[in-house]
């Protein structure tokens, strides 16, 4: 009796499973797989990205989505592990999801590029496009470039060039300080390269690598920087390595220009505080006052709306560009099939929310967009993290100025 009941129940379960696992490729939403750390020490990054993506997708869907269909985000926690990101890829391809998106960690990005390449080669009828929303290692669109990988953020070389271009004429002595690992070393190398190219008059009076996340008291470094006579400090440090460095500088009254790449991201403004007024600068793709400065009232209203419904500031203008690119490419190709819309995405130019012409460069699938250097200061319309201080644009670098050469030699699909 029990046996029979068991059999009936399991049969019913099997039927239910078959019914719920309906083909995901059917007409309906266009799914995008998003994978980033959503737990662990970097969960905050993934979480804030996710909230901004949701806000953007609602907006894009409100404007017709693509092909008359709506975008839908599927998220997958990769715990900052490449192996977990590959599981996300597997989950995406199993459901015929056309796009996988990932923002943090170049090591994870490299694993994904390889995984996507292999998958697409073996499964010509179920391909997937990888949209990189923030893994910045320069190699990813050079030595390691792939047709299926589209990078929608400036790479380290472009950020370094932006930083160098922002140095005013009267600054002739700079001090470099970076974290001793892959990213910090490439910032160090690229900043020096562009200094040589664009500002041969600038002398590097100090060049330091620090152990990642180990230094608590930066005042000895400040003493050295002071002794070197530097007028500006250039650093790619992030997290406590950046905030502690700046705090130590402020405490010691080291009155120079601090150029960073990450002071504008989550927690930076809070940790630096009012002491950074007028001294700290950051290389960034966006801050909320740009729209005010350039009179883009619709964009200003749109980010203000985000501010009033979330407990942090909107920083991801590039994410909106991603979805505008996907929307345009799919509409142009008339299809959400990765083979077709990827071909339409190559070389595509659209106008972003700040009114600039941004291009997905065909040769290496690297986005060319404007970049900014902002200064952390009082008296701006929108402050950061309720500190009373916010960012004001000091330097704008146009897409054409960041059109750096590349060494990519990608294999395009033949079919």
């Amino acid at each position: 009796m029990l046996d029979r009941l068991n059999r009936i129940v399991s049969t019913l379960l099997a039927i239910a499973l078959v019914l719920t696992a309906a083909p995901a490729h059917a007409q309906g939403t266009i799914k995008i797989m998003y994978t980033d750390p959503l737990s662990g020490p970097f969960a905050q990054v993934g979480d804030q990205n996710l909230q901004q993506f949701k806000y953007i997708i609602d907006y894009i869907n409100g404007r017709g989505g693509a092909l008359g269909r709506k975008f839908e985000l599927v998220s997958f926690d990769n715990k900052s592990q490449p192996s977990e990101a590959l599981l996300a890829l597997k989950a995406a391809t199993d459901q015929n999801i056309p796009v996988i998106m990932q923002c943090s960690g170049s090591n994870i990005a490299a694993a994904l590029i390889e995984g996507v390449d292999k998958h697409n080669e073996r499964n010509p009828d179920n391909r997937i496009v990888y949209v990189n929303c923030g893994a910045v290692a320069t190699e990813l669109t050079n030595e390691k470039c792939s047709y299926w990988h589209f990078r929608m953020d400036a790479h380290v070389g472009m950020k370094a060039e932006t930083m160098v271009r922002a140095l005013p004429k009267d600054v002739t002595k700079v001090y470099l300080l970076n974290q001793d690992y892959l990213f910090g070393q490439s910032v160090q190398r690229d900043v020096k390269t562009f200094l040589g190219k664009l500002r041969p008059d600038v002398k590097v009076v100090g060049d330091e690598l620090i152990p990642l996340g180990k230094v608590k008291d930066f005042s000895p470094y400040i003493t050295k920087i002071k002794a070197s006579g530097a007028q500006a400090l250039l650093t790619g440090n992030w997290g406590p390595d950046m905030t502690l460095l700046i705090k130590a500088g402020m405490d010691a009254g080291l009155d120079i220009r601090y150029y960073t790449m990450y002071a504008h991201l989550g927690g930076g403004a809070t940790a630096i505080g009012p002491a950074g007024n007028g001294k700290v600068r950051s290389v960034m793709s966006f801050h909320e006052n740009i729209a005010v400065e350039t009179g883009k009232t619709d964009t200003e209203g749109w980010t203000k709306q985000f501010r009033s419904t979330h407990d942090f500031d909107f920083y991801a203008a590039g994410f909106r560009t991603i979805f505008e690119f996907l929307q345009a490419a799919m509409n142009k190709a008339g299809s959400a099939d990765p083979v077709k819309f990827s071909a339409a995405l190559e070389g595509l130019t659209i106008t972003d929310m700040l009114g600039h012409q941004v291009t997905m460069r065909k040769a290496d699938h690297q986005i060319l967009s404007e970049y900014f250097v902002g200064v952390f200061t009082k008296g701006v319309k929108y402050d950061s993290e309720k500190t009373g201080l916010g960012w004001r644009t000091e330097t704008t670098v146009l897409p054409k100025d960041l059109d750096q050469p590349n060494t990519c030699n990608m294999k395009r699909p033949t079919s």
Binding site: Q44, I210, P220, A227, A252, G266, T270
Partner: protein
């Protein structure tokens, strides 16, 4: 010369902060024979408590209340959890504090979020105290030096001039004998654990706004404090004090002294080129590895003098 004096001051401030953290741990370690992994978590809690309290009633009350809260929490942990675990030996205690550290970290993340909190130096102390060779010496650094020096004197007086201090000292070196003499050793344990937590909490209150108050502050501070305690030696507050200052000064001067092995070899006439074996390693400048020197010193001291600098007994 000016770099020397400024670095000396910086090293002193950092060393004293380390001492505030390490002194509590060394007491607990000496008495219970267990490295308390949750000690740095108490430091973190001290900073977060102080942040929350200072938003309501200001920094000065927080300076007293936050460490007291940490002490209370420490007492509760010791009486209701650690004491039970204690029966099962040192390994169980160690694992217990290890787990506790994770739980406290997660709790802090849930209560205060993942981002740093704006815990700031009070306005009265937020100005340069004096200028030395063009560098400001911040008033808050002076305040930290003062607090930690007061703390050192207070602990020293407590341990050497009071009855409970004598019992604690005795229990540090001869716990069994103290118990046999009829003293309530479990209560002494509670007092020491709570006292250690108070010290860690105090370090958090004044270290949290000096550095940055965020959920990873415990993990990043933990290892270096263990190094200080083991380096200084078991059962010796003086050893702990000296070790803290050494670690503070070593890390500070390692940054300022820009030499590598290659430079030292060049002094004696050996020139390192890219063809030399281990050239990569030999040319690493000292500042690049400065933060790792304490760990190297830990290994060396354990090899040469296993009891630590001024240790009086084994675990």
């Amino acid at each position: 010369m000016e770099v020397l004096i400024v670095s000396l001051l910086n090293g002193l401030v950092y060393g004293m902060l380390l001492f505030m953290l390490a002194s509590g741990l060394t007491l607990i370690f000496s008495m219970m024979g267990v490295l308390n992994f949750a000690h740095a978590s108490m430091y973190m809690l001290g900073a977060y408590f102080a942040y929350s309290i200072s938003r309501v009633i200001g920094f000065w009350p927080a300076l007293v209340i936050a460490p007291a809260l940490c002490g209370l929490l420490g007492a509760i942990i010791e009486m209701y959890a650690l004491r039970r675990v204690h029966k099962n030996g040192h390994i169980a205690e160690l694992l217990f504090t290890f787990g506790l550290a994770f739980i406290i970290e997660k709790g802090v993340q849930m209560a205060w979020g993942l981002l740093p909190v704006p815990y700031r130096v009070p306005a009265v102390l937020d100005h340069p105290l004096f200028r030395i060779y063009g560098s400001n010496f911040h008033a808050y650094r002076g305040f930290m030096l003062l607090i930690s020096a007061l703390m050192f004197v207070a602990i020293w007086l407590l341990l050497t001039r009071t009855r409970i201090g004598l019992v604690i000292q005795a229990a540090l070196t001869h716990p069994d004998m103290v118990g046999a003499l009829g003293h309530n050793v479990p209560r002494v344990f509670t007092i020491v654990f709570a006292g250690g937590s108070v010290l860690a909490g105090l370090a958090g209150v004044i270290g949290g706004n000096f550095l940055v108050t965020e959920p990873s502050m415990a993990i990043t501070m933990g290892p270096i404090v263990f190094v200080v305690v083991v380096f200084g030696g078991l059962g010796s507050l003086a050893g702990c004090f000296i070790a803290s200052l050494i670690m503070g000064l070593v890390q500070t001067f390692a940054v300022v002294v820009d030499v590598s092995f290659a430079d030292l070899l060049a002094r004696v006439g050996l020139h390192v080129t890219s063809a030399t074996p281990l050239a990569e390693f030999l040319t690493i400048p000292l500042p690049r590895v400065g933060a790792l020197l304490p760990y190297l010193m830990l290994i060396l001291v354990l090899l040469v003098k296993p009891r630590g600098l001024m240790g009086t007994r084994d675990t």
